[in-house]
């Protein structure tokens, strides 16, 4: 059982610089074909200052920083037992190459189903840019299989 005392726990902030080569790599990995995600001129023609980060990219922040892995270690959950249950984003502003995004998360809830065979960790996040503007809110439900 995951200790319910971790509800309310704040993760350390994760800073994610939005970089050109990384976004191009991400576009290749997901098979993206629209030019605005790989070609700076196309992005500028569409009104962006540089390549925009695609809708799901910001999940990288707490993977790159190690904050997510550290959270599982803190909760005593082996990574091999974790599945992603749900993910959502609410968008407020575009994020482009040159921005630096900081993700701040806390544990919103921990609950179980099937008499504890499955435990659910709900993580809520706010992502802001280098100007302190909110760019997105995110919510993850992570499932631990016992």
């Amino acid at each position: 059982m995951i200790d319910r005392q971790w509800v309310g726990h704040q993760l350390p902030p994760s800073e994610l610089p939005i970089e050109y080569t990384r976004l191009r790599f991400f576009a290749k990995a997901i098979g993206e074909t629209q030019a605005i995600y790989t070609d700076v001129d196309a992005a500028r023609a569409a009104g962006y200052p540089h390549l925009p980060a695609p809708p799901t990219f910001l999940f990288a922040a707490e993977l790159d920083s190690g904050a997510l892995e550290a959270l599982f270690a803190l909760l005593g959950v082996p990574l091999s037992k974790v599945l992603h249950g749900e993910q959502s984003y609410t968008y407020h502003r575009a994020v482009c190459v040159g921005d630096t995004v900081t993700v701040r998360s806390h544990i919103e809830d921990i609950y179980d189903k099937k008499n504890g065979a499955l435990e659910f960790i709900v993580k809520a996040s706010r992502a802001s840019n280098q100007h302190g503007e909110l760019v997105a809110e995110m919510r993850s439900v992570l499932v631990c299989r016992h």
Partner: protein, 132 residues
């Protein structure tokens, strides 16, 4: 063009999932969990083979949305991961307009999105809100 309830988004058909794509997505997304990359690690965790990162599937559903309308209009995007996506699965992403509504004078559409395998088994299901 007018968007109406029941309209289908142009579908996005992905090629069968390869181990190469899983490796590329691991590097690009930052998800280095070996259960998606290393068959020995997968077997050690009680699954017979590696399987795709859920966020790879969500990224594909994201492509479905942004090939339909520019990303700047995307206000909300949420999914549930309903089943593991295995090597060889060819995921097809589809979407349908559930309703249109006005939010402070901006016309928006609520979209039901789905990612299914070649047998039609749902793997990812969710909703998005897009300003039109």
């Amino acid at each position: 063009m007018m968007v109406q309830v029941g309209d289908e988004l142009p579908p996005l058909q992905l090629p069968p999932i390869s181990r190469t794509v899983l490796a590329l997505f691991a590097g690009a997304s930052g998800d280095h969990n070996p259960i998606h990359l290393d068959v020995d690690a997968a077997r050690g965790s009680g699954v017979p083979d590696v399987f795709a990162q859920g966020m790879l599937g969500m990224a594909w559903v994201g492509r479905l949305l942004t090939q339909w309308r520019p990303q700047a209009g995307l206000r909300h995007f949420g999914v549930r991961f309903q089943g593991l996506m295995h090597v060889g699965d060819a995921i097809r992403c589809t979407g349908r307009v559930l309703e249109t509504f006005s939010d402070e004078g901006v016309l928006c559409a609520r979209i039901e999105v789905l990612g299914s395998d070649q047998a039609g088994t749902p793997k990812i299901a969710g909703e998005a809100v897009v300003a039109l």
